[in-house]
Every structure is written in C-alpha cells, then in structure tokens.
C-alpha cells in the first residue's frame, strides 16, 4: 500500500509538473504557468490593445465572473474610515455631475485600466518608458522604467515607476492629487494614495491586473483588486478617439468634418 501510495503521489507530481509544460507548448492559458512571448531584450511582451470587457467601472465593490473584484479584504468591500464612507455615499448621490469622467477629466490610476475603453500598451526593447495609450480622451500614461518618484507634485495619474519581477510588470504609483475616483459609484481617495500595480500575462489573450491600494487618510487598511484584461484580436483593430469634451462643446464651435458652410463658396 505504501509503495502504491508513493507511486500515485509520484504520478500526481509528474502530472502537475507536466501540465504547465504542455499548456505552454499549446499556447493555452493555465494560471501562472503561462510564459509570455519576449521582446529582443528578453522582457515579457505586453504589446497589444487591451480592455477589461466587463462592468468593473460601475462599482469596484462588485463582481466579475462571479468573483469579487476586491480580493482583499475577503468581504469585497473597501475598508473606509467612517467619514470617508459618508463621503462615498455622498459622491454616489451626486455621481451624475461629480464623477470626473462625466466632466471628461482624467480617470487616474487604477481606474484607467478598467474603464470601458481600449488601451494600447506600447513596449519596446531597452527603452526607458512603457506607454499606455487609451481611447478615452487620448490619454497618455507613461510608465518610467528608471528614476525615482518625483517629489512635490500632485498628478492626475500619479508618478509611475515600473520594474520587472519575472513575468510581471510591477508599477509603483505615487504623487497623486485627490480629484479622481476609483469608479462610477463614487469610491474615492485622498492625495495620500499609493498604488502598486501588477500586470501579468496569464494567457495568449489575457493579462491579470492586480492593484494594491493604500491611503492612510481614507482607508483603515490597504485593499487589493484583481481582474482580467482581454486582448483585442479583431483584424486591423485600432485605437480610435473618444474626444469627450469636444463633443460637449456648444453650437458656436464647428466640431465636425466640414468647413463652416457660410465661409465656403
């Protein structure tokens, strides 16, 4: 019996070990086993047009595929201080006018990753910057792969410093203003926000996006989100333009595709 048990254990171990290898050769996703394609400098290749493809931005305290978006704490709720929770409820009531996205303002971090607009990750070998280019109001977010955080600035997207940990792009983001929200439900933060993001390719067409969010002015403890980003694979798919405020300007402005007819012959 002991021998049989040992053999079955050994078989099980072999199977466990062999699964990632076979899935790798077939290019099928299998959790952490997936090894991303590499750029010329040997770093994982995150290039592509990505989008969350799920209703995450409506409420970060909701679910994707039946799982809480907030994976820590276990109840899936943001661990607000009492006064900050009251502010969240007030924001929710006023969200039609006060949501920064309804004012065409910058979504900030982490929100840029899961608003319902595609973004292209632009990564080239041996360059000091990885650029995120979103369709939402031609947003450019630079991930600096060198240097230290800037002091004394309050930025809509914070100051992003990236590094590689194996398969994962880790981005440390600080120096925020307090003007962005986490979602359309009024979840918010202060200028003490500090975010650590982790982008890991978990399959040929998926990135697992994780962010640990701390803010001692607003939260009793940090919380962590995890959600899938999907690769756009449609032929010739490209980032277009959502020029939010151009669309909202008044009738005196000729935002369109023709010259003003009263000036034309």
């Amino acid at each position: 019996m002991k021998i049989l048990a040992s053999i079955s254990c050994a078989v099980a171990v072999v199977c466990l070990v062999s699964v990632p290898v076979s899935s790798q050769t077939k290019g099928a996703p299998k959790g952490k086993a997936y090894i991303a394609p590499r750029l010329a400098d040997g770093k994982p290749d995150l290039n592509g047009i990505w989008e969350v493809r799920a209703k995450v931005d409506a409420d970060l305290e909701g679910k994707v595929n039946g799982k809480n978006i907030i994976v820590d704490p276990a109840d899936g709720k943001i661990p607000y201080k009492p006064e900050a929770l009251a502010k969240k409820k007030e924001n929710f009531q006023k969200r039609a006018t006060e949501d920064p996205l309804n004012k065409c303002h910058a979504p900030g971090v982490p929100r840029l990753a899961y608003i319902s607009y595609p973004f292209q990750i632009v990564e080239s070998a041996n360059q000091p910057v990885i650029a995120f280019l979103s369709q939402y109001v031609h947003t450019l977010r630079n991930i600096n792969m060198q240097g230290e955080h800037l002091d004394g600035l309050e930025l809509w997207f914070g100051d992003s410093r990236g590094r590689w940990e194996g398969e994962t792009l880790v981005v440390d983001v600080a120096a925020f203003n307090s003007d962005t929200w986490f979602d359309a439900a009024g979840n918010h933060h202060s200028d003490a926000l500090h975010v650590v993001e982790r982008f890991t390719r978990t399959g040929p067409e998926t990135i697992t996006y994780e962010a640990t969010i701390e803010d001692p002015k607003v939260l009793t403890k940090p919380f962590k989100i995890s959600l899938p980003l999907m690769l756009h694979t449609e032929k010739n798919f490209q980032i277009m333009e959502y020029e939010c405020y151009a669309l909202k300007e008044g009738p005196t402005f000729t935002v369109g595709d023709k010259p003003d007819p009263q000036h034309a012959k």
Partner: protein
C-alpha cells in the same frame, strides 16, 4: 485670450519641467520649450535588429531662423492683434513661403484671425492634427515596438500610433482629430500617409486652416544619430489650389533622464467656457 491661456499653460508646464526631482535640465531646451536652439552632431544612424533606422528617444523641433511654426506655419509679417510674431514659417514649396489658399479659405483665415481667435484649437485642449502635432512644444518621444512607430507628446498628452503592416486606412466617413496614419519605410525614410482628419483643427495658432479633405504625406529621415529631417506635403482640394510642402528638423534631447511630465488641460480649463 486664447493666446494668453496658451502662454499660461506653457509657463506652467515649463516650470514643472524644472521642478524638484528632475535632475539637470536638458541644455537643448535652454529655457525655450518650443525650439531647440542648436544642432548637436551625432554619430552614424542607429539601427534596429531588422536593419531599419532606430528613431527611438526624445526629440525637439529645431526650426530655422526666427521661425516658430507653432505660431505660424507660413511666412507672416506678424499680427499685432493676436501677438503672433514675425516669422519665416517652414514652407519650402511654394518658394514664397505662403499657403496657396483658395480665395474662400484665405478669407476665412483672415476672418478667424481678426474676429474668432477663441476658436483656436489648442485653446480648447484639442489634439493638433497632422502636421500641427509635430511642432508642439516640450518634446516628442518615439517608440518602435514590433510593427509600429509610436509618437507621444507631453503637450495635450497627445499620441500617434502608426502601423507599418500595410493595413488599409479606415473608412473615409470616420473623422479623427489626429487623423489615420499608415507608415512604411523607403530606404531610411519613414513615410507616413495621413487621412481622415476633422476640419476643426488649425495648422498653427494663426488660424491657418484646412478642410476634411486634407491629405498629408510625411517623410522622416535620420541625418545622423542626433538629428532628423521632417518633411510633409499637404494637399486639400477643398481649401488649396495646389499641394505645398513644409520642412524642418528635430534634434535629440540628449539628457537620458529627460521625462515627459503630465499635461492636464481640460481639467483646469475655465477660460474658453466664458465665451
């Protein structure tokens, strides 16, 4: 008014660029975020593993003489009312340096500069379109991920994504502020075909205009590792009598610590809303 707004934006960004933590300010910027004043000769053209020129890094336009194409793309004696200074422009064809407008379009340019400077596209935080985007201030970064040339600017957090895979342009009914760019290499020259632009953008801050029929062919050629020549031929059968061509240079921003900062525009914009 729009000029004042823009100058305020420029000063704010220039101050940020010299803020704490930036390290040494790039000598090429030399206090002037619009144009790099001097050419720094480089070595041989750097190449990617596939043999194509490696244009990656940070660049700033180095226009000729007293010329700031941001202010006026064409030669002008200056315009006191709008505080546009005298400039030679960057037009090399036709030889007089002046845009070959159809009469209605010249009349509209005059009307806009005399009476409607509030419509200037920069003042509304709009993307510049092409070629205007190419001579906006604070530096341009080029990245060349596999299959693309990508350009990013601090100014208006603008970007251009230029596929090199030979795909067709998008449908002509779709109009974009930044247009639709398709690139290919002719020897060491990157050739970019740009269509699908809206008519709303200006070519500069002097109300030089185009219609939605604008078609631009750009040619970017490395001179050496530190310098690029930029040329663009602009045709527009609704606005001009014939195609015309601009040319200027870029110099590399040599400080390896140079970084783009954040350019929030609409987030703090109150000026235009008053009109």
């Amino acid at each position: 008014m729009s000029k004042q707004l823009f100058v305020a934006l420029s000063i704010a960004s220039a101050c940020l660029a010299q803020g704490p933590g930036r390290g040494p300010v790039n000598p090429l910027l030399n206090g002037n975020p619009y144009v790099s004043p001097q050419e720094v000769k480089g070595g041989p053209i750097v190449r990617l593993p596939d043999g194509k020129p490696d244009l990656q890094g940070a660049w700033l336009q180095r226009t000729v003489g007293n010329s700031m194409s941001m202010y006026s793309i064409e030669a002008t004696p200056g315009h006191p009312k709008t505080s546009i200074p005298r400039t030679a422009g960057v037009i090399v064809d036709p030889a007089d340096g002046v845009i070959p407008y159809q009469p209605w379009a010249r009349q509209r340019e005059i009307d806009l500069s005399e009476n409607h400077m509030v419509e200037e596209s920069d003042a509304h935080c709009f993307l510049g379109g092409v070629p205007h985007q190419m001579y906006t201030p604070f530096g341009m970064r080029i990245l060349q991920p596999p299959g693309f040339v990508v350009m990013t600017w601090e100014f208006m957090h603008a970007y251009r994504i230029i596929p090199l895979d030979g795909r067709p342009h998008i449908h002509p009914s779709i109009k974009l502020f930044e247009g639709d760019s398709r690139g290919h290499w002719e020897g060491d020259t990157l050739v970019i075909d740009v269509t699908n632009q809206v008519a709303r953008t200006w070519l500069d801050q002097s109300a030089n205009i185009h219609s939605d029929a604008i078609h631009v062919v750009e040619r970017i050629t490395p001179v050496d590792s530190n310098n690029l020549t930029y040329e663009a031929t602009i045709e527009d059968s609704k606005a001009y009598t014939k195609p015309w061509t601009i040319r200027f240079s870029y110099s590399r921003i040599l400080d390896p610590k140079f970084e783009h900062l954040e350019f929030a525009c609409i987030e703090g914009e109150v000026d235009v809303a008053k009109h």
